[in-house]
């Protein structure tokens, strides 16, 4: 299996405060990697470094086996797309206009959107089932729909690696599960997905690999079932949980039965 994205010995700090200490990871093509860790464990910083938004103090990030430092912003955008948390914008752009921005990385400086660009944007909306929103204002649609629109923009970028920052945050329960299914589907279609999450269950459901980040260090990484155990989750979050297998083999994580819940 070839790796789509590697981080090798990445360290980072703000001033004297270390945020990441010698973090390495590798994601194979078509795989979903979930990053788990408590607040302040360095997940977001790691994402930013992988996207090239922050320079690591030491270590390198390779996308498609090329160090990202050697790529221009545009070349990077063609290999790697970022899906931020669904946000609000100050201006009511059409959803289609937002998705079209994904095509910028494929244009020269003064070119305007070609027929192909518009076709690709429309296709990506359709693929995510939100084509009916094309000419609605981004500011008027729901949080779940905005998240899908941002994924459509990332797909329009035609990058192989998708980096998602807590893609389910702020979505209702149904939309969370639908979004995780969408992530699975993208991996099946050959996309490589790296996402942060706060939910072990979501990692069990949707990922091929998990990386646990604790105080900026890798606590464990590997298959979800091997990595997320009662022990590691206690270390990570300071709570007692139980990992229970369902009949079909899917694991899920529930709080330890205790009198404090009654």
């Amino acid at each position: 299996m070839t790796s789509a994205l590697d981080a090798r010995g990445v360290s980072f700090g703000y001033g004297d405060r270390p945020v990441l200490d010698n973090v390495s990871l590798s994601v194979g093509r078509g795989q979903v990697l979930s990053l788990l860790g408590p607040n302040g464990s360095g997940k977001s910083t790691l994402l930013k470094i992988m996207l090239g938004l922050l320079q690591p103090k030491s270590g390198t990030v390779l996308v498609d086996r090329q160090p990202i430092g050697t790529l221009t912003v545009k070349q990077r955008a063609r290999k790697m797309a970022y899906v931020p948390q669904a946000h609000m914008l100050s201006f009511p752009y059409h959803v289609l206009d937002v998705v079209l921005l994904g095509r910028l990385a494929h244009q020269s400086f003064l070119e305007s959107y070609s027929t192909d660009d518009k076709r690709i944007a429309a296709e990506m909306l359709k693929r995510l089932g939100i084509e009916h929103l094309a000419l609605r204002s981004y500011t008027e649609i729901s949080g779940g729909e905005r998240q899908l629109a941002l994924i459509a923009r990332a797909l329009a970028q035609e990058a192989e690696v998708l980096v998602m920052d807590e893609p389910v945050s702020g979505l209702d329960y149904g939309n969370q599960l639908r979004l995780l299914q969408e992530v699975r589907r993208l991996a099946t279609d050959g996309y490589t997905v790296i996402k942060t999450t706060h939910f072990p269950n979501h990692a069990f459901l949707s990922s091929d690999a998990v990386l646990l980040l604790h105080h900026g260090r890798v606590l464990a990484r590997g298959l979800p079932a091997e990595v997320m155990t009662t022990d590691t989750l206690r270390q990570l979050y300071g709570v007692d949980v139980e990992i229970v297998p369902r009949e079909d083999g899917l694991l899920y994580c529930v709080p330890m039965s205790s009198s404090t819940w009654r």
Partner: protein, 361 residues
Amino acid sequence: MASGELKNVMADPSMASRDMDVTVRKLPWLCGLVLFLAGLALLSLGVGRYAISTAELSRFFLSLVSGVPLLDETRYHELKNVILEVRLPRIIAAILIGAGLSVSGAAFQAMFRNPLVSPGLLGVLAGASFGAAVAMLMGDQWIIVQVSAFAGGLVAVLLSLGIARIYRADSLLMLVLGGIISTGLFTSLLSIVKALADPYNQLPAIVFWLMGRLSAVDAATVLSLALPMLLGVGMLMLLGKYLNALSMGDEEAQTIGVNVPMIRTAVILSATLVSALTVSMAGMIGWVGLVIPHIARLLVGPDNHVLLPASALVGAVFLLIVDDVARTLFNVEVPIGVATELIGIPVFILVLRNLRAGWLS
């Protein structure tokens, strides 16, 4: 677009190109605005204390173009003086200034992700006013006042950029703070200049300059400043699609392949060039850069690709109308900067009511 049409587009993505092309959809608006502006400019030639009828106007232009005398000699020269020496430069200046301030405002609003931002945010207007006032203190040579105004505007913006740079932050917030500091500094420096000015001659001159006036614009000024202004406005218009990206936030813009520092510098420099030149031409003209982008957004939507040209046209129309009103309504000409404020404020209140943008909710 009607919902039925939209269904067709989605059923057949190849249709997308034609029907969903924002530029094409909004083209009628842009064309309409161009025609309206052209008509208004022609009409404005006849408007003023010295009224000229449309019939006489057309006869004058016919004789000017063909060389065949259709008017009597003295009348022809009289008209030539009024129209070509006085009114035409003034109308062109109004168009350039209205367009320049509006485009700069629209670009800044997108870049700073804030619809309440105006072109003066980084201190260009305060700096230019100070520059002009200092020059008036030194003497009353028109050209020096203009150059000094322009230089003052540039220095003020460079100061804001420098302050933001000290903290190594490429963040917008530091830039805004730099702008506040720079504006404050140059506003107080302006007060010092006012205090030092001779209260009988210089002070009134400075005060009137700060109210903005198109009456002082001559053909030479327009000829020398038009090209750089058009360059700045054109540059901003070309950056439309990148402004859309910047309004998503800097980090996102970078991940979709935009060289954020480069584009931001280009936007700031172009907008500064244009805004400083408007002050060089006609002093301080407020509210245009804040209000007009909102009106344009109501007409054509927020996509900067279309919004910037639309803002330019609406701004030009607006300032031309305000100037026509200012020079005909009363016996004494109302300073244009005061007139834009008086008219801009109620317009802004009306526009605010109709805004459907997310930031109001």
